[in-house]
Symmetry: C2
């Protein structure tokens, strides 16, 4: 299968490989999947080996695999979109149907608290999830546009997380509750810290790209694997913070007995939690590190 | 850097690449990192390109990078061992110091419940964590031994998870509490289901290897990326189940007011949770998908 085809999933490369901004001069160390297959420069010994390998595969099989991978790609995009929008929609529905909606008035601080789960799920799950997935699957666009989309979605997540954090801090102060005592708050604190650091690193790297593309390419390339690994970590910590937060909320608001009796609100809260888990499954499955394995197959059999 | 060196971290390949059992005949489609560098078979055009690339790098830099990666490797192993053993040790300390130890008698069902967090953390975090890490970092051993170690650690995790599950089920029945009502139990149920499926797939694949190594190589190779991706997912779900469970336990046992006052037991429970988070960070960082990126660099510059 040609590595330059528009199919974005088949040659799924680790995120690290995405960060070479086009156009690159021909002698630069470009990723292997950006190079055309070099049949003319293959030595005799290599040629023989490829011939043996080719004799085992059939064109129809290659086509079938291509179609299968396109199906997987379409399925992932559809599932991810439904889940990422669905989890925020379900949280808004829960707030309006069971928790009296939103507000920032002194008389009903509970309405102010409601901003916390909604904005944190929007920031850490919906927007961050879209941002990670887009960077991973948009291989038909130019790299610079994908980076811009990645930045825009994280820029949308940023105010959500900040306002969501301020909402609960102010709610605690109004009600005289301690801050940062629970496991949820500790995990959330680490997740927010990592998100801030990642945002700063991404912004700095993007700025360097705009100022001096070629001169900073090596430095930026060395940042990418770390940014990618910690990006996935930040997302997982965001998921953990959401799940512990939902557990706390269910026990605080419903109480252990109503929660154990499986009231409809308990089921809705659990459904929000399981949607977050489903999003985590789709995102982690999509960003899995199979890139090297597939790329090497392409490199061994470049026909 | 030679890809056949004993350093296990430098050419970190996705887990998928590990699953080619030695010895392979020379004409088989072996992973690129199992092939010796072929300088004698390089064509003229490729030779010129490599010369251009080599002129930019210095031997001392390569040595420094190698030493740096060995340091990273040693640091990861030390940190992971401390954290993986530490999280189980801390849970056992918490149970004996604050929760009166273990038991399976009808008169004190709480002592029976105490088996649940201890065994689940041992199964889903300590043993599973060691199993995933060992498979990822043991590159100096023969593949078959690494697989055996991976299987042994999962075989240790299996009874922990089963007994831990039965302990809480029996505790609920004795106390007349509903089963499977909370978000924690739903996440735990999915995690246990995935663990069972993964165990079955791994066992089946290992059995196939023993019965017919060469004939089943392609089939087993196609299973590996899926097994690896779902293995990481199962681990993350185990982490989520542990964190939501600890949050529930803190609120059930201490109550919201004592928890909010930051009693010493609350801090110990939070510390267990944060150790689980630290384990997740180390494991996810170690299994990150940078393999393809590094391998392609080795392939382009095989000196």
């Amino acid at each position: 299968m040609d590595s330059n085809s528009v199919s974005p999933m088949p040659e799924l490369a680790p995120i690290a490989e995405f960060d070479k901004s086009p156009p690159s001069p021909p002698n630069e160390e470009v990723p292997m999947d950006d190079l055309p297959p070099p049949p003319a420069t293959i030595s005799q010994a290599e040629g023989k080996k490829l011939k043996v390998q080719r004799s085992r595969s059939y064109d129809s099989e290659e086509h079938e695999r291509g179609a299968c991978e396109w199906c997987e790609y379409a399925l992932v995009i559809t599932l991810a979109t439904i889940l990422l929008i669905g989890v925020s929609a379900l949280t808004i529905f829960w707030t309006f149907f069971y928790r009296e909606g939103y507000g920032w008035a002194d008389d009903i601080p509970e309405k102010q608290f409601n901003l916390h789960p909604t904005l944190m799920i929007a920031g850490f799950i919906t927007f961050s999830g879209f941002s990670v997935l887009l960077y991973r699957i948009c291989r038909c666009f130019r790299r610079i546009y994908v980076k811009l989309l990645h930045a825009i979605f994280h820029a949308l997540a940023f105010p959500c997380i900040v306002i969501g954090f301020l909402a609960v801090l102010d709610f605690h102060n109004k009600k005289g509750i301690n801050n940062f005592y629970s496991l949820h708050s500790w995990i959330g604190f680490v997740a927010m810290g990592l998100f801030g650091l990642q945002y700063a690193v991404g912004f700095f790297s993007f700025l360097l790209l705009l100022i001096c593309n070629k001169g900073t390419a090596n430095f930026r390339a060395s940042l990418v694997p770390i940014h990618a690994a910690f990006g996935v970590l930040t997302f997982v910590l965001g998921v953990c913070a959401c799940l512990t937060g939902l557990t706390e909320k269910a026990l605080f608001t419903l109480g252990s007995e109503t929660y154990a009796s499986m009231s409809t609100e308990a089921i809705v809260i659990n459904a929000i939690g399981m949607s977050v888990v489903a999003v985590a499954i789709v995102v982690l499955y999509t960003v899995r590190g199979t890139g090297g394995y597939r790329l090497r197959k392409v490199a061994q059999n470049p026909s």
